[in-house]
Every structure is written in C-alpha cells, then in structure tokens.
C-alpha cells in the first residue's frame, strides 16, 4: 500500500508530470506563469481543488453513479461537481479565511476550466484507483502542476531579458521555452519505482 502510494506520487510529480508529459492544464500554465508569485498562487489553488475534486468525485462515482448504472453520465456529473466545488471553496474562503482568499481568490474561477482538474478525476476512474489512491493522485498531480508552473515562471522571467526574433514575441517564445523544460523533464521518464 505504502509502496503503491509512493509510486503514484513520484509518477504524478515527476515521471508523468501533468503538464510536461500529459499536457493537462496547459492553458492556465501558459497564461498564469508571467511572474513567480502568481504562478505559485495558481499552483497552490490547483493542488487544493484537485485534491478535493478527486475525493468528492470518487465518492459520487463509486456510491451513486456506478451502482445506478449511470456511468455514462460521469463527464457531465464531474464537471458540474468541479464547478460547484470551486464556487463553494470560493465562498468558504471569502467568509472564513479572507487572507487566503485574497491570495488565491482570483485564480479560483479559472480552475473550473483547467483540464488538469477534470483530467485527474477521469484518470482516477480510468485507472481504477481506490479512495486513498485517488486523493493521493489528485494532490500529487497538483503538486506536479505547482512544480512545473513555478519552475517555468522563473524560466520566463529570464526569457524577458534575452533577445529573440520579433515574430516569436509573446506566446511562441513561451512555448519554445516550455519545450526545453519538457525536455528536461524527459530525463525523469524511465525512472522506475520499485
């Protein structure tokens, strides 16, 4: 069990990193990585929502959808759960932890359309993970996202000072530098846990 959890965690953070090897969550990854601070805020919000979403969706899928033979409604149910969850978390934080809300607040609505969140929930179902494995996969997948976005934000801060062809202005240069970071992450593939 413990080995299993370690291997899931390392897999989600490094070997099959959500962004650099599975391409989940690229839009916020490229959109919110201008500065290291914002990147960190976004990353933390994602870890939080991915963990919660994995737990709740697993419960709903296992105890409601599958027993009723409604597995075909999974996509629909999951996206509604994620949207509602993000709203609830936002309201809760606003009322009870205003300091955290002011730090994460602006990122929360963006998370609904982050495909890493819906992706992790669907992958949990696809991989037949149990409850603990699902939650671990959700949280560590989020940590992988956090790691990727913070690393990439610091790369981008350096890119600002370098010279590149004019037509690469903006998005293209980001993608090219992301490609190089992805190349670095390829070094983890082939790492085997136990």
């Amino acid at each position: 069990m413990l080995f299993n959890i370690i291997s899931i965690s390392l897999g989600a953070i490094l070997i099959n990193n959500f962004i650099f090897s599975q391409f989940l969550g690229c839009c916020p990854f490229l959109g919110c990585s201008n500065k290291t601070d914002t990147a960190f805020g976004m990353g933390v919000a994602v870890v939080f929502v991915m963990g919660m979403a994995s737990a709740i969706c697993w419960l709903i899928d296992t105890y409601i959808l599958v027993p009723l033979g409604l597995a075909f409604l999974e996509t629909l149910a999951f996206i509604l759960i994620i949207a509602a969850l993000v709203q609830l978390v936002e309201m809760f934080l606003k009322k009870s932890v205003p300091s955290l809300y002011s730090a994460l607040g602006i990122y929360l609505p963006l998370i609904t359309t982050n495909c890493a969140v819906l992706g992790v929930v669907l992958l949990n179902v696809q991989n037949h993970y149990n409850f603990i494995e699902s939650v671990v996969y959700g949280i560590t997948g989020g940590i992988g996202f956090l790691l990727a976005i913070v690393l990439f934000a610091s790369v981008r801060e350096r890119v600002e000072f370098s010279e590149y062809p004019e037509c690469f202005e903006g998005f293209p240069i980001c993608l090219v530098s992301a490609a190089l970071v992805a190349l670095a992450f390829m070094g983890f593939s082939g790492m085997k846990v136990f």
């Binding site: 949207a83 998005f171 993608l175 490609a179 190089l180 992805a182």
Partner: protein, 233 residues
C-alpha cells in the same frame, strides 16, 4: 450574415489556436499521427457546431445568471454523445485519444464561442461559426500532426492510410502510413511532449509573422493611397 468573412476569421485571422490561443492542451497532446489529428479535429468540429446551434436556439429562454452552467451542461451532453459513439463504432480512435475526448468539455474553444458569439447571433450564423471555427481548429491539428509525424517517424498519414496492400484508407487506425524516409532517421523527440510544445510555438510564430507582414502591406498600401490623394489635392 457574411459567410466569407466568417470563413476567413475561423481559418486565419481569428483562428482558435493560432490567434485566440485557446484549446492548446489537446492540440499538443494528440497530434502524433494524422489519424489522431483528424479524429480529434472532426470530433471538436461536430461538438462545436451542435453546441453553437443549441446555444443560439435557447439563448432567449435561458436566464442570464445561470447561462454558463447551462452551456456547460449542454457541452458535456454533446461531448458524452460523441464519446459513446466513438467508443462503440470507432474504438481505435477512442483509445488513441483517451481522456482527451471527455476533456473537450473544458476546451475553451467551445465555451468561448458559446459565450462570445452564439449568445448574440442567429442560429444560421452560429451554425456557420461552428463549422468554420471547427475547421480552423482541424487545420491546425492536421498541420501539427503532419509535421510531427513526418519529421518524427518519417511517415505520412499514420493510422489512416495503408499502402502495404495497395492504397486504402483504414478506419481502425491500423495503417502504417506512407513511408517517406526510414523511421530510424526520424527526430523521435518530435513525437514526444517536447515536440508538441516546439511545433506549436513555431507554428504560432510563423502565423504572427504572416499576419504582421500582411498588416504592414495593408498599411503601406493605405499610406500610398493617402499620398496619392494628397498629390491630387
């Protein structure tokens, strides 16, 4: 409604991936063979067109406050229909695209079009918008897959075309494609995530270059016109 203008917007000047820069996850993830690229592109095209039509049909009866929730439900409905149909009738495609089919739900192209276009326009206009934006998306996927497959594996049309027993199209993704050069000399790294980021980056750069150039040319032409007018005066 001006269909020509919509066509040009969807494919070039307001292309969803190259200009609006949305819906990139799938663009980079699945474009490793022509079969995947074409399958994904057509799935998005179908879903986008259906959603556009439905959203513009119901745009007047849905309450403003919950419109986004309703859009999401409609989109998720169509995505699930396509997902189930693919699983049942083209299983090879469903396997190759995997989790990226259900993830079309959170593809910003669809909700973006619903919010920005269909809410304000007639059913007919929304229908054409869906088709042209979908075509624009499909074209990008096709270009990406052709480039990555050719340079990465040295083949063209992998999964879709089979030439071992004469030329034929394979719908089950089994065709090995037309071999242009031996796969041993391919830059395999292009079929990996690195290649996804790099190819899209260069593609957008080329697009920006072309758009900028045409804008400059227009500017010059306008300036020339002005000067002529001045001379006439």
């Amino acid at each position: 409604m001006n269909i020509n203008k919509q066509f040009k917007e969807g494919l070039i000047t307001n292309n969803p991936v190259l200009v609006q820069q949305i819906g990139m996850c799938a663009t980079m993830a699945i474009t490793t063979s022509l079969f995947n690229g074409l399958g994904m592109g057509l799935s998005v095209l179908i879903i986008l067109t259906c959603c556009n039509v439905v959203v513009s049909l119901i745009r007047k009866i849905i309450p403003e406050e919950i419109r986004l929730a309703i859009f999401v439900v409609v989109i998720a409905g169509f995505v699930t229909i396509v997902d189930l149909l693919l699983k049942a009738f083209i299983p090879a495609l469903s396997e190759a695209l995997g989790v990226f089919i259900p993830l079309i739900v959170v593809n910003c192209i669809i909700i973006g079009r619903a919010e920005a276009f269909c809410q304000k326009n007639t059913v007919g206009a929304s229908f054409f918008d869906g088709i042209f934006q979908g075509l624009g998306y499909t074209c990008v996927l096709l270009v990406m897959s052709i480039v990555r497959e050719l340079l990465g594996k040295g083949t063209f049309g992998g999964g879709l075309i089979d030439v071992t027993e004469g030329f034929r199209f394979t719908m089950d993704g089994s065709g090995s494609g037309i071999s242009i050069f031996s796969g041993e000399y391919g830059a395999k790294v292009l079929t990996m995530p690195f290649g996804g980021f790099l190819t899209l980056g260069i593609l957008i750069a080329v697009m920006q270059y072309a758009l900028k150039k045409s804008a400059k040319r227009k500017e010059l032409a306008a300036k020339a016109d002005d000067e002529e007018e001045e001379v006439e005066e």
